[in-house]
């Protein structure tokens, strides 16, 4: 008898989603799907608004990564103005983005995922959360809190507040950097670097015990996509798009982000509100690609900062080709924190960083603009069209989690097929299926609201409606 398991909602992610696992008559997993179950529609609600409002409006898409939307949106508006952002304005946007990536990666690694590493995939849910970590591993919990706080302070120091800042504007940033702010951030970098370094050292000794998870957590060939600079270095805020295949070959390079529609298609599936982007030259769904920390480290020629490059070289030894297991998103995230801290220090020591010319002013000079940056979870794309009055007539957002949608679905299927057997649900099985999703650190808040408690209810139901098994987490 064919059966279906539903994990609804998925826990310890940002936003609401559910997973459905389909079993055949022999209790073997036949298919699995990751559904995003809420709709927000920012692309529609912004129509008719002045384009100058877009950075602040789009930042409201999410409470976790508002800075990422702020930057991508500002860049799209730069294109509408057709201005060249002053160098210092560009550097300051970079620092803001780096602070955002550090705080978001700390949240993902320490708060959401490390309970699985530290307390075990099979531990009871109530004993597998940040609070349990506080009791069992206080130093790691302290480090996680301190590192996230550092990233948030960078954002607050530059942009005035931690959540939904409005400092990044069309044409640059609204205020120059003060010497006090620069010195405050520079003074905190050594401690943040010490935390990142010892966490990475600990993780490198730890992750190899998860052999089975590494082998089955979305470990399959796919393309990888992200931004690189003109020399192929790790790039978070500017640059062009590179695509690498699973063998590590660069199959497209220096693609102009504003031309994205020529190489990224957006498919829609009836079971999810999340779009399914794909690489057009390979068609749908073969053009599945991954973005985010793992993809970024797979596509670059180097990180271009000394300590991150040492770690990146070691990371590359995991596989002779591109690193394929999505379990290694966690590892990549830690290396990126080090890269961000190094880049941040370099930029803040730039002699022009205190320059007061940080914004270009103009009326709209184009009716269409695209802005792309790297959000913590991957490439983020904003595309706007305006009328003669500067009012938005059309908008399209492709969010990192959307880019990863096809790969997340494939990953859930792979993990479910490996870990789910028979008609009895065990907590460890379900947690592993969820943990595949957590590797990608999906930010569903970017397309959904996340309100209230996040209980988990899993039902195993026969095709005739008979409830065979149920697991609840309240």
């Amino acid at each position: 008898m064919a059966r279906q398991i539903t994990i609804d909602p998925v826990t310890r992610i940002e936003g609401h989603a559910k997973i459905t696992i389909y079993l055949n008559d022999d209790g073997v997993v036949e298919d699995a799907r990751f559904h995003v179950t809420q709709y927000r529609g920012f692309e529609k609600l912004c129509e008719g608004r002045p384009f100058t409002e877009m950075p602040s409006l789009m930042a409201r898409t999410c409470g976790i990564c508002p800075v990422s939307h702020l930057i991508a949106s500002s860049k799209a508006c730069d294109a509408l103005l057709a201005v060249k952002v002053p160098r210092t304005g560009r550097l300051l946007r970079r620092v803001l983005n780096l602070g955002q990536i550090v705080q978001s990666h700390a949240l993902s690694f320490f708060h959401l995922s490390s309970p699985d590493f530290l307390l075990g995939m099979d531990a009871e849910p109530q004993k597998r959360n940040l609070f349990a970590m506080v009791e069992s591993h206080p130093q790691i919990a302290r480090d996680g809190i301190a590192l996230r706080k550092f990233g948030q302070q960078v954002i607050e120091c530059l942009a005035g507040k931690r959540i939904h800042p409005a400092w990044c504007v069309p044409g640059g940033v609204s205020e120059p950097l003060s010497p006090e702010c620069r010195d405050s951030i520079l003074g905190q970098i050594p401690q943040a670097m010490a935390i990142a370094t010892r966490t990475l050292e600990w993780y490198k000794k730890t992750f190899r015990q998860f052999t089975e998870e590494i082998a089955t957590f979305a470990n399959f060939p796919s393309l990888f996509m992200g931004l690189v600079d003109e020399d192929g270095n790790l790039e978070f805020t500017e640059g062009n798009i590179r695509v690498v295949d699973s063998a590590g070959n660069v199959i497209a390079d220096q693609l102009d982000p504003s031309d994205y529609q020529s190489f990224i298609g957006e498919a829609v599936e009836p079971y999810s509100y999340l779009k399914s982007p794909y690489y057009k030259p390979m068609g749908y769904p073969d053009g599945m690609y991954r973005v985010g920390p793992l993809a970024r480290l797979n596509i670059v020629d180097r990180c271009n900062t000394p300590r991150a490059d040492e770690e990146w070289a070691e990371f590359c030894e995991l596989d002779r080709r591109a690193v394929l297991s999505s379990f290694h998103y966690h590892y990549a995230r830690l290396i990126e924190i080090i890269a961000c801290l190094e880049q941040m220090e370099q930029i803040l020591r730039d002699p022009e960083i205190l320059d007061t010319h940080v914004r270009a002013h103009a009326e709209p000079n184009a009716f269409e603009g695209v802005g792309v940056s790297e959000a913590p979870r991957g490439m983020l794309l904003h595309h706007y069209r305006i009328d003669r009055n500067g009012l938005i007539t059309w908008a399209n957002l492709i969010i990192a989690t959307g880019h990863n949608n096809l790969a997340m679905n494939r990953g859930v299927f792979q993990a479910a097929k490996h870990f789910i057997r028979g008609d009895k649900i065990e907590e460890g099985m379900l947690n592993r299926v969820e943990a595949v999703i957590r590797c990608y650190d999906p930010c569903l808040s970017c397309s959904t609201h996340a309100i209230g408690q996040m209980p988990l209810r899993v039902q195993l139901v026969a095709r005739d409606g008979t409830l065979l098994d149920e697991v609840r987490r309240d």
């Binding site: 959360n129 940040l130 506080v134 206080p138 302290r142 706080k149 948030q152």
Partner: protein
């Protein structure tokens, strides 16, 4: 540095949910503001546990949808048993924060939670006029707590 941290929290775009922010705004106008650090935020987050450890006392002000509109409740908080406490990534309870502070830093500050019963949590940047006296009461209560702590 001031030894008392005052945090008004809630969503100031949702009417009476901004009561904590309104208290913080009034408090900033008084002399007592020089004796404490006053902050506002939307939610309590785990990162505040590290900040708590730097203060001798913490006073939190929140709006309550359960409490009768216009009433003020004040209670002193204490760390609770860690077992079973849940911490979400961007929302924790005052007790959980205190407990995290104690577990991670070996001590927790004295702490009070003031809650103000609200009646309208719709879209608005203003708290209901009827809450005005209660907000003033909360400000006086906080000033009194700080004066009492000074005398300790």
């Amino acid at each position: 540095m001031a030894d008392v941290l005052v945090i008004g929290y809630g969503n100031p775009l949702r009417g009476d949910d901004g009561a904590g922010w309104a208290v913080a705004a009034q408090l900033r106008l008084l002399d007592v503001a020089s004796k404490c650090e006053i902050r506002t935020c939307h939610q309590l987050m785990p990162e505040l546990a590290a900040d708590f450890a730097e203060f001798g006392a913490v006073i939190l002000i929140d709006a309550s949808a359960e409490q009768e509109a216009g009433t003020l409740a004040i209670r002193e908080l204490a760390p609770v048993a860690a077992a079973g406490l849940q911490v979400f990534s961007h929302h924790v309870t005052p007790e959980a924060l205190l407990t995290m502070c104690a577990e991670l830093h070996g001590r927790a500050p004295r702490a009070w939670l003031l809650t103000i019963g609200g009646k309208d949590f719709g879209f608005s940047e203003e708290v209901s006029p009827e809450l005005g006296p209660t907000i003033s009461d909360a400000v006086r209560a906080i000033a009194q707590i700080i004066r009492t702590l000074e005398g300790c």
